[in-house]
């Protein structure tokens, strides 16, 4: 089609659709690489400032970074913390990568496909870190057809290995073929999983064998949510797909922006009301196999010694968690995997910015230090204070702690250090829909009423309200479990 030829004629910045005609005159040479553009166009030296004595003032990257982070948090939190948002924790995601002729373009250094491969690798790691119960598969579009590159799996190794290989691109890209393939594969996954596709599209056209609108309707009916990240210009068909299926469409302006857009898809998206189904999922918690035991593992089909896990239902050996037992089909996880997903369900409120120009925090000298890291909050140069405060515990934190707490830790040290604020948080948690872990001792049958240590091998996970009714029926069996349940979730 006509896509590629147009690119050579247009400006190398042609994808920035909102540029005025006048600004094009400034770009005399179209062959500048990104580092050269930083000097000619962005003029980084102009952001330097001098103080009274003529010495250079250091560029305050910290506040810039913090401002950027706060914009991000505000856009996320405006919807999530106020309303009850259900999130899909068990996601089945296909990442579709474009290896058509357009992927060889050099506007991303060294080439679009190399940059995409690099960032998809980082994305895969981040995805499994945030969604340990989910699975990813890779699909490649090349020569007008879509092929399954790696199978849907719960471990990052196989995907990363495939991404490290030598990559080649040729031919046209076909959106319809990719959607058809993904739709076929995603039809086989269980109904409690959330079906998602992320397409990284470099081409400006699509060569389809049939009517892509029909394929889009099929995907919509199967509850597949498609999101697209474009590397060239905005296309109507991509926008249409995303609108119909409830995904998001964005265009990457440069490499850093591409990375940001990709990583935005790592945390679980809010579940679409029609797509979410509430049912119980049976999960097994395997024990580690004893040292020195020789058994044949179901994943590699070879004899292995020691280190591995035994499925609680059929006693087959698996090498890695989380996985699905190939013999009996039970989903096998360990409790830390579930615990990794809790922060999506119980997010902490963003902190409020405050500033005290004269360095006197609410008139108290003792509050001069950040509650988390004991760093002084007073700016040494100006004597003023610019910090953040938690709306619940009213403690003050420095900007770096704010970023760390919201992006990595997900606990406010101030709220956790106060006995009374815990109960308030517990009452709020009760109102949230979530997938809740419920301890139940069914299959093993070795439940002992006298012991307070409840070990279980198989347990149910399900929607809050479904479980609540089941829980009342089961609560007579174990008073201690009921008590801890009440304490954790505060009802």
């Amino acid at each position: 089609m006509y896509g590629i030829e147009h690119r050579e004629v247009s400006n190398s910045r042609g994808r920035r659709l909102d540029r005025d005609e006048d600004e094009d005159d400034e770009d005399e040479d179209n062959d500048f690489s990104a580092w050269e553009r930083a000097y000619t166009d962005e003029r980084s030296w102009e952001s330097l400032q001098e103080d009274e004595s003529g010495l250079l003032r250091p560029i305050d990257n910290k506040t810039l970074y913090h401002a950027q982070y706060r914009r991000r948090i505000r856009s996320i939190s405006s919807t999530s913390t106020a309303a009850r948002i259900q999130k899909g924790l068990i996601r089945y995601l296909y990442v579709v990568m474009d290896f058509s002729k357009a992927a060889a373009e050099m506007d991303f250094k060294p080439s679009r496909m190399a940059v995409v491969a690099k960032h998809v690798e980082a994305f895969v790691r981040e995805f499994f870190d945030q969604n340990p119960l989910s699975q990813i598969g890779l699909v490649a579009i090349k020569d007008g057809v879509a092929r399954c590159w790696t199978d849907m799996g719960g471990s990052p190794d196989s995907h990363i290995k495939a991404l490290m290989k030598k990559l080649e691109c040729s031919g046209d890209a076909s959106l319809q073929n990719a959607l058809e393939l993904v739709h076929e594969y995603l039809n086989h996954i269980p109904s409690y999983g959330h079906r998602e596709v992320l397409i990284l599209y470099s081409a400006l056209s699509t060569c389809d064998p049939g009517d892509i609108m029909e394929t889009i309707q099929k995907c919509k009916k199967s509850k597949v949510r498609c999101s697209i990240v474009g590397l060239s210009a905005e296309m109507f068909i991509c926008k249409h797909i995303c609108q119909e299926t409830g995904g998001s469409y964005s265009i990457a302006l440069d490499e850093l922006h591409l990375k940001e857009l990709l990583l935005e898809h790592a945390p679980p998206p809010p579940a679409i009301a029609e797509y979410a189904t509430a049912n119980l999922i049976k999960m097994g918690f395997p024990q580690r196999a004893a040292e020195g035991v020789v058994s044949i593992c179901v994943c590699h089909k070879e004899a292995k010694v020691g280190a591995g896990y035994t499925c609680p239902r059929c006693k087959a050996r698996v090498c890695d968690l989380p996985t699905e037992c190939r013999i009996c089909g039970l989903t096998l996880v360990s409790s830390p995997h579930l615990a990794r997903s809790y922060h999506h369900l119980f997010p902490i409120t963003p902190f409020d910015e405050v500033s005290f120009p004269n360095g006197n925090i609410a008139g108290q000298k003792s509050l001069e230090r950040c509650c988390g890291c004991m760093h002084s909050l007073v700016n040494p140069g100006s004597g003023s204070v610019y910090c953040v405060t938690c709306p619940r515990c009213k403690k003050y934190f420095c900007l770096d702690c704010d970023i760390y707490i919201h992006e990595s830790l997900h606990n406010c040290p101030g709220c956790e250090s106060l006995r009374h604020s815990n109960s308030k948080a517990g009452v709020e948690r009760k109102d949230q829909y979530c997938l809740i872990l419920f301890y139940l001792d069914l299959a093993s049958g070795k439940h002992d009423n006298s012991s307070t240590d409840v070990n279980c091998d198989v347990c149910f996970m399900g929607d809050y309200e479904v479980l609540h009714s089941k829980f009342d029926a089961w609560s007579g069996k174990d008073n201690y479990v009921k008590e801890t349940w009440l304490q954790v979730f505060g009802f």
């Binding site: 830390p336 004991m374 830790l409 801890t484």
Partner: protein, 218 residues
């Protein structure tokens, strides 16, 4: 180079801990120790070795009558007294029967924020370690917060497993020996991966000093 944050409990244990902290500081001059106390109602920093200068420790040594104790001990004990008074005063009227759970997740979060700050400030990256001396039972309402802290620790230390060791000493008299052993040689022992109740574990009999620890398998 190592920076260690530890939590203190009773006066009996504090003497042992003080000698242990002293031994860490003597081990390597670049070692830093931060002590965080976990109470029933609050958590707080008790001591930070990077803040106290040599001059102040010498002057404190001269002023204290007992020339055998290093300078920082009096500072630690004083701060600890203040902390415990503050904590008791914040208790509500109806006292808890038996031993209540402490705010473990709070002090763990504070320790992690401190370690992040150390990573950020300077080109040198020390090997951070957290030592938790835990006397009270686990509080189930803190399960989510503690797990969040553990996963964050795993990520920021750029290692897949925190590599910690869990030890339940049978005799508190031998605590100093236990601590030194754990600090110098830490090889994790067998782990239990089942979804066993976090809540019940601390109340089970202290019959085994086995190194059982909930370790993340990823």
């Amino acid at each position: 180079m190592a920076s260690v944050a530890s939590k203190l409990y009773t006066d009996d244990v504090s003497l042992v801990v003080l000698s242990f902290v002293n031994s860490i500081l003597l081990f390597n001059q670049l070692n830093q120790v931060v002590i965080i106390a976990t109470g029933f109602n609050t958590c707080g920093y008790i001591y930070d070795s990077s803040l106290s200068s040599v001059a102040s420790s010498i002057s404190a040594n001269l002023s204290s009558g007992d020339a055998k104790m290093p300078g920082f001990c009096s500072e630690v004990l004083k701060n600890l007294e203040e902390f415990m008074d503050n904590d008791e005063s914040l208790s509500s009227v109806d006292a808890v029967n038996g031993v209540g759970s402490s705010l473990f997740s709070g002090s763990l979060s504070m320790a992690l924020c401190y370690i992040q700050r150390v990573f950020r400030s300077g080109p040198l990256h020390p090997q951070p370690r957290i030592l938790c001396l835990h006397g009270s039972p686990d509080g189930p309402e803190q399960y989510v917060a503690v797990m969040n802290s553990i996963f964050s620790a795993q990520r920021s230390m750029a290692s897949y497993i925190t590599g910690g060791v869990y030890l339940k000493p049978q005799q508190l008299d031998g605590l100093f020996q236990y601590l030194s052993e754990v600090h110098t040689a830490s090889k994790p022992v067998g782990v239990d991966f089942r979804a066993s109740s976090v809540y019940g574990r601390a109340q089970s009999d202290a019959s085994s000093a086995s190194g059982q620890k909930r370790k993340d398998p990823s």
